[in-house]
């Protein structure tokens, strides 16, 4: 096992009620949460949606991975709130006002309404990101393909998309390993020449890997025609 997979950033099966739901239902729950967060404006409702998504994450035992997404959400939220406070001049309840005498910002006026609006859109964004985290951490790419196929998307395109996502963790592992290899050889990984010692084998490995996968796919009978079907286990059949 490697460091990346231990971070809990990617899908990993856990025996929880939410993980074991039908993938279409999981997809629908996440989609409803995200769409509702984008459409509705009432802060208590948005807060409720966020709490629901967090509760599902807790029940699904994906809090570690979910918190990575939330850290990103917090940074974006802080940026949005600050931006809104500075740029939005509307509102009657002034919290702070000052003359700056700068070319564009002659004065700054921070209002309670701008702060409130910033918090609301941050909550909305956090809920959307939380729903996306739920989707990526509880729906496997294989299940996602089944969902997309049920939604009548072309199976071949779905497969190609899925295949390319499968390489992401391998690529991240490769970057880490190649960096370590060159460090052990005393390489200074600065500048184009330095980084080249990692990038060149990274590209070569990726190309070789894609040829190997193509070879293996052909040896297993892949000829471009592909059908996703739900293969049931004996237990499920029973």
């Amino acid at each position: 096992m490697d460091i990346i997979s231990n971070m809990g950033f990617f899908y990993s099966y856990r025996d929880t009620r939410f993980h074991n739901l039908n993938p279409l239902l999981k997809f629908s729950v996440c989609a409803v949460l995200a769409i509702a967060a984008m459409v509705l404006e009432d802060p208590p409702v948005l807060a409720a949606l966020f709490v629901i998504s967090a509760a599902i994450a807790a029940e699904s035992r994906i809090i570690t991975g979910w918190s990575y997404y939330m850290k990103v959400a917090v940074w974006i939220a802080v940026f949005l709130i600050l931006l809104n406070l500075v740029l939005s001049q509307s509102g009657n309840t002034v919290l702070f006002e000052a003359k700056l005498n700068l070319p564009i910002f002659e004065s700054i006026r921070i209002t309670l309404e701008a702060l409130f609006f910033g918090l609301t859109i941050s909550l909305r964004l956090a809920t959307v990101i939380s729903a996306f985290a739920l989707l990526s951490l509880t729906v496997s790419p294989q299940e996602m393909m089944r969902v997309m196929t049920k939604m009548k998307l072309p199976a071949k395109s779905v497969f190609v998309t899925s295949l390319s996502t499968r390489f992401v963790p391998s690529l991240m592992d490769d970057v880490e390993t190649l960096t370590q290899v060159q460090k052990t050889r005393g390489a200074k990984l600065k500048g184009i020449r330095g980084k080249g010692t990692v990038i060149i084998p990274l590209l070569s490995n990726s190309l070789e890997r894609s040829v190997s996968v193509a070879e293996a796919m052909e040896s297993r009978g892949f000829d471009g025609k592909f059908e996703y079907g739900r293969q049931k286990s004996k237990a499920e059949n029973d």
Binding site: D2, R166, N205, A216, K234
Partner: protein, 444 residues
């Protein structure tokens, strides 16, 4: 039934890989194919499922019949119904993210419906892995999933290309027992393997290839092992672990590990996949930092890799990860340029029998040759401590024996060699063997 007459093959670049092969393999045989690195073993089996010539192109002469079909004329899809192939690196054949998806890929291609995935997984003792992400699995588990993904289509002939190279003894034994069981049930097994000491007693026939020709075809030959350990001398302590704990997130690998390694030793780290062999090497190299405790390397405590490079050398498991330069000589010189150490590049190339490839592009060499370039690219700086992670991938017995002798000589010169390996042959070169288990440490 497999029948090959006058088979010769050259890849598109003109390199002749097979030269006049005549061969018959009856249904239900268990055949072991051996030979030195680059002798044509993999090319031969590619001819059986049609990857040669359909995928690789090249010039094919002679005739091949497999299960009544001509692979050169039939499609690879048609051949996949008769021949299942497990590749050397299971990771390279995965197309899905999870085990279930991987198992169902083959039948999905063939338009088949799988009656019972669980039965296939249970057959390999990996029933609990069904929902797991492939990325999380250990090397041994990946290997079993790769085999399950081929077995699920019930091929008549099963080809495995060096399946034991990443498996610990127990897992390798389990796999061989499974192959024997499949063979008894009537499946033809063709096994390419360098670690022949692990497969003796299973195969009924051995075919040895050399430069694209069959040089032996008969009962399995016995394997040579080093007669005795190279030496048992040990001197000053070079590496010392004191109450070292380490974990990846919540996954604890070591807890209060204490041990030391001295100059003159060749230490072999053994243990199942995921037991922490590579982690231990990386802690010594300064690539990982212990959560608690100290790793003392040559008097430096918990030193980062930047301070140790050159004095400590690390050869990674996959030689491809070492290779980036345009020529072999540049690849080998790289460490000297970076660390300011001196070394005789030509002599090192000669020692590893790759001097004639000096101006070649390293990534175009065979697996065994690439492994030697990777070794040379580190050993040229003559590091006081040499760390090797599975250094014999793609090497035949002769190359392994030579490497064993080199390492013995190297350690005799007052250096320390620590090697993580599943290879019994290399393990027999050790002056000390350490067995690692998850959170258990038994020095022997």
């Amino acid at each position: 039934m497999i029948e090959i007459k006058g088979l010769s093959f050259a890849y598109g670049n003109g390199d002749k890989a097979l030269d006049g092969i005549d061969l018959k393999i009856k249904n239900g045989e268990f055949v072991l194919i051996t030979g030195s690195s680059g002798c044509g073993k993999t090319t031969l089996v590619r001819c059986l499922n049609g990857l040669v010539p359909h995928f690789y192109g090249g010039k094919l002469e002679g005739t091949v019949f497999v299960d009544g079909k001509k692979p050169a004329a039939a499609s690879t899809k048609e051949m996949a119904k008769s021949v299942g192939m497990v590749f050397q690196d299971p990771e390279s054949m995965f197309v899905s993210e999870d085990v279930e998806g991987e198992i169902s890929f083959g039948p999905s291609c063939a338009g088949q419906r799988i009656a019972d995935i669980d039965a296939v997984l249970k057959q390999l003792g990996i029933g609990a892995l069904r929902k797991r992400s492939l990325h999380e699995l250990s090397g041994g588990e990946k290997q079993k999933v790769a085999i399950a993904s081929v077995l699920v289509t019930a091929p008549k002939i099963l080809i495995l290309d060096e399946p034991l190279s990443e498996l610990y003894h127990e897992s390798a034994g389990e796999l061989m027992a499974l192959l024997k069981k499949l063979n008894k049930a009537g499946m033809t097994i063709i096994l390419i393997e360098q670690r022949t000491e692990r497969v003796s007693g299973f195969a009924g026939r051995e075919i040895v290839l050399e430069k694209g020709k069959i040089v032996y075809d008969g009962p399995p030959k016995s394997n040579g092992r080093p007669a005795s350990k190279p030496f048992t001398k040990s001197g000053d302590i070079l590496v010392q672990f004191e109450n070292v704990s380490f974990s990846y997130g919540d996954n604890k690998v070591f807890e209060n590990l204490s041990c030391d390694f001295s100059e003159g030793e060749i230490v072999v780290l053994e243990g199942p996949n995921g037991s922490g062999k590579t982690t231990l090497l990386k802690l010594i190299m300064g690539l990982l930092k212990p959560v608690s405790g100290t790793v003392n390397v040559g008097g430096l405590e918990n030193a980062p890799v930047e301070k140790l490079a050159g004095d400590v050398g690390y050869v990674f498991q996959n030689p491809d990860n070492h290779l980036f330069a345009e020529t072999v000589v540049e690849e080998v010189k790289f460490i000297l340029d970076n660390t300011g150490k001196t070394g005789d590049v030509d002599k090192t190339l000669k020692d590893f029998n790759i001097l004639h490839y000096k101006k070649n592009y390293p990534r175009y060499l065979s697996g065994g040759e690439k492994q030697r370039v990777a070794l040379a690219s580190i050993m040229v700086a003559r590091p006081k401590i040499l760390l090797l992670d599975e250094p014999t991938r793609g090497m035949d017995h002769e190359l392994k024996r030579e490497l064993g002798e080199k390492l013995a000589e190297y350690a005799k010169g007052g250096n320390l060699v620590i090697m993580a390996t599943h290879d019994d042959f290399m393990a027999s070169c050790a002056t000390r063997r350490i067995s690692l288990r998850k959170l258990h440490y038994n020095a022997g």
